[in-house]
Symmetry: D3
Subunit: 255 residues, 6 copies
């Protein structure tokens, strides 16, 4: 399959245009020529030295990531940016990145992946950023005890040994859950206003503790990396459906 076709197919499924005003990430093809053949696609959460090297070693023609290299434009192709872009160019490895659209997608998104894990029902979009959303909200089939939910997340997420941090300030029965993966701490306030029993995100921020405590809500921090492997894995499944060879570069960060 040629490179523009792969990109177009992903673009069509993920509608990056709707997120263009709110996402600093230049979503879509970030590094690569106008044409080229794609046989093997590598997938990773982050585009960085380790994952690019792995993709090169595995002979990939395209690396698909959640966190790319262009955030509001690459000012200069120097320093770390040079070190990451040069091997892409030298090894004819194109880079495709998809940030917020892959967080919020109802079906393929990172938050949808966490919601699947928790088997949430009656789902709806959550976590507004401008006119779009980057999370999911739903109800547990049966209420979770807070510890039970923490244990489930800890056993299923790839936290790099850091575990799941739980602020146990909410109700003892968790039915209504909101999820914003990655760095979602700023949406805790919306989750509180929405009256959920628990908020699941990746990274914390200092203010989260007292917000959760004063509002009486459970907060689970599963890690930025660990909560954001779902989206790229869903894109990997698509690539396999299209008949491409794929490989997943797992590189948990402990963050």
């Amino acid at each position: 399959m040629d490179l523009p076709t792969v990109c177009e197919r992903y673009d069509e499924r993920l509608s990056p245009g709707e997120y263009a005003d709110v996402d600093a990430s230049a979503n879509g093809l970030q590094v690569g020529p106008d044409e080229g053949d794609v046989e093997t696609v590598a997938f990773a959460v982050d585009a960085a030295g380790a994952t690019i090297d792995a993709a090169v070693e595995r002979g990939a023609d395209l690396l698909v990531v959640h966190h790319g290299l262009s955030w509001g434009g690459i000012d200069r192709v120097t320093g770390l940016d040079y070190d990451r872009i040069a091997p892409l160019v030298e090894h004819d490895l194109a880079l495709y990145a998809m940030h917020l659209p892959l967080d919020g997608h109802d079906d393929l998104g990172n938050a949808a992946g966490v919601a699947d894990l928790l088997e949430l029902e009656a789902r709806e979009p959550f976590g507004e950023i401008g006119p779009v959303t980057i999370g999911q909200r739903g109800r547990a089939a049966e209420p979770f005890a807070p510890d039970e939910l923490a244990t489930l997340l800890e056993s299923e997420l790839d936290t790099g040994g850091e575990g799941v941090q739980h602020f146990d300030f909410g109700p003892d029965e968790i039915e209504d859950v909101a999820v914003v993966t990655g760095g979602g701490a700023d949406w805790l306030e919306d989750a509180i206003d929405a009256g959920v029993d628990a908020f699941v995100t990746g990274e914390g921020k200092g203010k989260v503790y007292h917000q959760a405590r004063d509002a009486g809500v459970n907060v689970f921090l599963g890690g930025h990396y660990a909560t954001e492997t779902f989206g790229v894995r869903a894109l990997q499944d698509l690539a396999e459906e299209w008949g491409l060879e794929t490989t997943y570069v797992d590189h948990p960060t402990g963050l």
Copy 2:
């Protein structure tokens, strides 16, 4: 001592005016009347339900914090804001907050406190934000081994049981160290450009791992709370010098 005098003395030492353009926090007196007597002063890192309640219980007239309640203005005195402001008003407890000026102060600041802990020498301001700085940089009297530095931080910081996270990607001998306390991850890039051996901050962010790895620098995450107790404790020392009764409200958050 009357309330305006206490505020003036702190304001004079900390020069919040120089940080006014870059700090969302309304630094200085945040809640309180134009006059009043101060006998007992409570100190805490965060102004929130738990710390305000403790200050009330200990009979304080003034609560001095690093993280206050007004960040770009209080839109409405409702919800969590009401729950935090109402006890202040009802118990005649004034609130004084000092954010970035207390991070960056050469002598009283949070970063200076960490630098003291590491006995850094030849110190200079680090971590620019607009025309001011919020961190410190210095040289170890004798080089640290990375593990040694991690152990030192872990034993001295009040991390609420979460420990210190260490990304061991830098040189084996750490001499040159940059410190930005709290949420300082965005200054890792400046630390890399400055060529330090190690960067110490409070909270991480997903991107820190690969930045540190690709640049070859040690990063230590000591926790937002744990790295920011130094400033308010220094203000407590001042209050004692002025003859006021003081009390420290310790409430580690694990973040």
Copy 3:
């Protein structure tokens, strides 16, 4: 009736969300807890020391005003803001404010109240601010002589003894009238472009005299306070319909 219910009912009638982008006022509940019982509601044009004291004396649980305390956020709860907010908190008196939506409402609004007084017909919204309007325009059932209109306004408005100021530069028969209450001088230009015979507002501004003179239009300045009692009185009527006890705190300012 509980406090959130009262607020919701007013919010539903007045649609503050439509004015959110153009109104500096934080419309809705401005000071108060998440729950509480409301038996007695006080109404006033302005939230200030005099009106808050009166509402406290009359045992009100809620004070509803046109001009509240939060205009683009309360930077600090100190000085005059402390002096106004503290008695609200101490006496469990909530504060609900509604600014532009209560100027422009077709039925309950201040401009509608003036239009009622003048018995204007064929009314339509007037006075654009962004996508919404804050005034009314209509035709007199029978043309007014300019003096007659001045006398009518002077006898019906609560001008605090300052009277109505009339710039008698327009036609001798007034049929077409535009109204923007309060500080509406900036809309005189729109009124001129619309070709009205008279413009009624509250406060003047230096430039109004020559604008009116050069354009040949009657201008009547009835006072900021005096032209803006209609909206809160209409909200008082609603509260009575809902079975609440009410009281109106009259405090004309002469402005």
Copy 4:
């Protein structure tokens, strides 16, 4: 004297460049050719139909005003702008305007004129707008009783019959006085913070009454026109010193 020379002389005395960032008025020559002879100069507070007609009748070559015609640019030379600019062009009457620099000038300014009237001593600049000031502050040689000050202003200012409005909420002895002429109501807050006994300005605004009442300060509203005749009269004196014929177009507005 030729037109560019007159303009240059005024520009040199008034330094409009220092106010360029904060003044919407295009200060300096607003309408007129690059050259021309000036024999007679007319002076008025406002550039409008009445004052332009009077200047034409009196055979002036130049009209000098405080309030000109260009506020952030003239979008179109149509409507009222055409009606004001056309007679200037047709009668070879140039227009020179000087707004904020003529409010704040220590010597020639409107506020200085009011301060002279009150014989204030120990004067200093007051009323910051960006990096400059538009008012004056000083101490009465002997304290005024509030009524006495009101009477003095009323007898000396050209209020067009509207009188001086006095909010009698301050101390009974007035020593410390701040002055911002014209539409200075927004600086009442600074006057309160500065701890003056009285604030003198031209126009009010609805919020002034309660601000003055709650803060306990005297406020005197002398009228926009009436408090702003001093500056242009001082420029008239300069023109006479330069040997030009002058005429003052008095047109009080009652605002």
Copy 5:
């Protein structure tokens, strides 16, 4: 026909309101009174000394142009602006300007005029600026050879002797053509992305050469003036249909 009627008719056809957010030009009547009779209308591309003088000499009551005098407001009616506005006022010559709406109009526009010249078919709007467009795109009835297209443009456009500049980097058969008249160089990138064979505009810019060369596209620069005579001529035709006397002031600039 009276002046407001002429303006209204043009406004209705050209919908300047849709371009208001993106066009610095104050489109519509730019200089003139609220009423007046129009018998003779002059048309020109630019409002400037030469064209205004010609219109005066020909006894016009109204001058209709593509490039007017108000671009984001006239700061002062002095210097060149005075020299251009004064004769308009003195000779009762009104000025009507229409910028981007007359570039992009499907039927009357400048780009449509060039497309007519090239007999392009299957036309569609091209050249987005915010929510509107200022150009046209279409297919040649029969493919042009590049030289043939250059010759056609050169023979039909009024280039003031400067000729048409052709960057011959595209395909040898030109079918798909995009047109943005005047200063359209910034839309070359959109034309490249759209995959056209040739881009026709007025003025170049330094970067155009290498953009065209690296992308492999033909670029034709016909001159700012020469590509923008079509719109005002179309407005002249309308005026004749309305029974007005008309005259075209031709003044090519060589740019």
Copy 6:
């Protein structure tokens, strides 16, 4: 010489930091690694396919240009950007760009080069952009006749056959000359205000003709490329002084 040293030396001479707020160009090293050896340096006005290919062919390690590849950040390394960056990476050719600082430099700059050509004396900076300047102004040793000046420019500038365009609207003796190279048409107005006899720039713009005609000033358009070869040639001289091998890639554009 190693790459960082070459870059530092140029940076020191050209002070790009002073232009950072007004120059969209990312001045300095734009593409390249943190280290590397430089033996041969190529120089060109523009970084584009043709000049990069030539530099590669000539075995250069570094290409120094006036117009680089990053203007406000490279959004994606795709399309034309990929085609230009890929050969740089693949052939270990670093790219150093210097835009406005090389226009305005008193000694090395493009405008200084044109001023040298015209042997202007009593030179001073001209052409303000924010706090810096990008042009030069000076007096001819002996007055030029306009034709003489045109002929001189035409014979010395590398216009790619397009010649120099002269608007002959100014005085017959040219003494006072202002120069802004490249796209300097927007500074014609400043040149008129400064009262020069002639303005020399690279590219025109439609409005230049009538501005020059109405103001009575000579304007010479020498071409964007042709007026901007001086700066990079001056940098080439520096490199030779440092003992590096150099080569100039001449590629006139006709613009």
